[in-house]
């Protein structure tokens, strides 16, 4: 595939790895957080950590919207679709198997008679509302800035079509707020150990490279925006090593083929019109973060499912054995979770990080557990 295969060229990958090895200072250790779950999966899938010098450690970040959605928000959707027979809950497939309170997922809710429909695009949710005028269609909207404009487009389309039976249970969250939260929650020790960030690629097509300037300056950490192919990531890590060695903290746009400095102005304008900032929002692992999420703007309140169905949010605890919170803060790796691969596996997940195709636990389970098995067994003995 054009613009995919070229960035997976093994010879170029080896050359990039050699350059990284040439430039690292053997006397120091490097820790870089890849913010996106998509980057975590690319690192694991292509075995990139094996190409890096041993003194570079990749810390997996919270950039997986399915993973950071707290149990209480999922419970709202489960309770809505199981208590109101008129509701059709439309959701992306990623959300279906995430366990809520008592292990009840949207798939469980569906098996108990709740009308949950899996969609590929928000336009399908609007079509459902048009085709089912006697029902109430609720779009369970989750995602970072990448996924927000399609939700805004759906609200505008429903508004233009005069659809009164369409609403959005809005869980859209903001990347810069999460980077700030990483730098202000968790242990001071783990924060100080971070030398820089691999910045989101697809989020940045919307918000632009300039959106990270404040964070780079404020936290004095380099941020390098990267695409999702293996050579993109190796290149981004190379740039991070360079900045770290030079003591710099700049935003580099290493995904410039798709990311513009100011992002996508049309998408931003649409989101500004349809959404407003929430005062605060709870994230799994990061706690309640001020101004970190969106709700429907006053002009579009008629499409706000929380108002329409009088939904009251309550914080609910994660499964006791689950270490998703620490993993999302970059304080633990999946293999350090007591239930990884035993009680918690993709077929029977306890936590969101094992379910999501972007979750760190799913990445380790799919690609990393055999590599990690030998040292773990040795440590156990």
């Amino acid at each position: 595939m054009k613009y995919v295969d070229e960035f997976r060229d093994p010879a170029a990958a080896r050359a990039l790895a050699a350059r990284i090895a040439d430039e690292v200072d053997p006397a120091r250790r490097y820790a870089f957080m890849e913010f996106c779950g998509g980057h975590t999966h690319a690192l694991c899938r292509f075995g990139l950590e094996d190409l890096l010098p041993p003194n570079i450690r990749m810390v997996h970040g919270p950039g997986c919207p399915v993973c950071v959605l707290p149990v209480g928000r999922l419970d709202l959707a489960v309770e809505l679709v199981t208590s109101r027979p008129e509701v059709i809950l439309a959701t992306y497939g990623d959300m279906m198997r995430v366990p809520g309170s008592g292990g009840v997922s949207l798939l469980t809710a569906k098996s108990r008679g709740g009308d949950v429909r899996m969609i590929y695009s928000t336009a399908q949710a609007v079509e459902l509302a048009r085709d089912n005028p006697e029902r109430e269609v609720v779009l369970f909207a989750i995602g970072f800035e990448t996924t927000t404009p399609p939700t805004a487009a759906a609200v505008k389309a429903a508004d233009a079509a005069g659809l009164k039976n369409f609403s959005v249970l809005c869980n859209h969250v903001l990347t810069p707020a999460a980077i700030d939260a990483i730098m202000t929650t968790g242990s001071a020790e783990s924060r100080a150990r971070l030398d820089g960030f691999v910045g989101p690629g697809h989020v940045s097509t919307i918000i632009g490279a300039e959106a990270y300037e404040d964070a780079a300056r404020k936290w004095e950490k380099p941020i390098v925006i990267s695409g999702f192919e293996p050579n993109d990531l190796l290149n981004a890590i190379h740039l991070l090593v360079r900045q770290t060695n030079a003591g710099e903290a700049r935003v580099d746009n290493a995904f410039a083929r798709a990311v513009r400095p100011g992002g996508n102005a049309a998408a931003q304008a649409l989101c500004d019109e349809v959404f407003a900032l929430r005062d605060a929002f709870e994230w799994r692992g990061l706690g309640t973060i001020p101004e970190s999420a969106l709700k429907l703007a006053p002009a579009y309140e008629g499409f706000d499912a929380e108002l329409k169905f009088d939904l009251q949010y309550a914080s609910r605890p994660d499964h006791k054995a689950c270490a998703c919170a620490e993993i999302l803060r970059g304080e633990k790796t999946p293999v350090e979770c007591a239930v990884f691969e035993t009680a918690c596996a993709p077929e029977h997940p306890l936590g969101s990080c094992m379910v999501s195709p972007e979750g760190a636990c799913a990445a380790y389970y799919l690609y990393g557990r055999f590599r990690d098995a030998a040292p773990r067994l040795a440590a156990a003995e």
């Binding site: 613009y3 350059r19 950039g63 996924t147 487009a153 410039a256 798709a258 649409l270 999501s356 972007e358």
Partner: protein, 80 residues
């Protein structure tokens, strides 16, 4: 969730493009992009085109990664 792929635009109909992704054709909304033409590559996410792939920057990146050690990958790859 933020998964997206570059796909080639093979036909246009108003705000909707047909893209070809490795042989699979699908409709994609161009609501957030202006000036997209047939033959352009766009980054597609949940049925929407988020940005256009800049072919010049892409080929510079590819050339730099294939080049010998003398080619400065970092510079060509868009240090801002």
């Amino acid at each position: 969730m933020c998964l997206a792929l570059p796909a080639e635009v093979v036909a246009l109909d108003g705000d909707t493009a047909t893209v070809n992704l490795d042989g699979v054709e699908a409709p994609v909304s161009l609501a957030f992009l202006e000036g997209v033409g047939v033959g352009d590559f766009v980054v597609v996410h949940v049925g929407y085109a988020l940005s256009r792939v800049d072919p010049e920057i892409a080929s510079e990146q590819i050339a730099a990664m294939k080049g010998d050690a003398a080619a400065d990958v970092a510079a060509a790859y868009g240090e801002s």
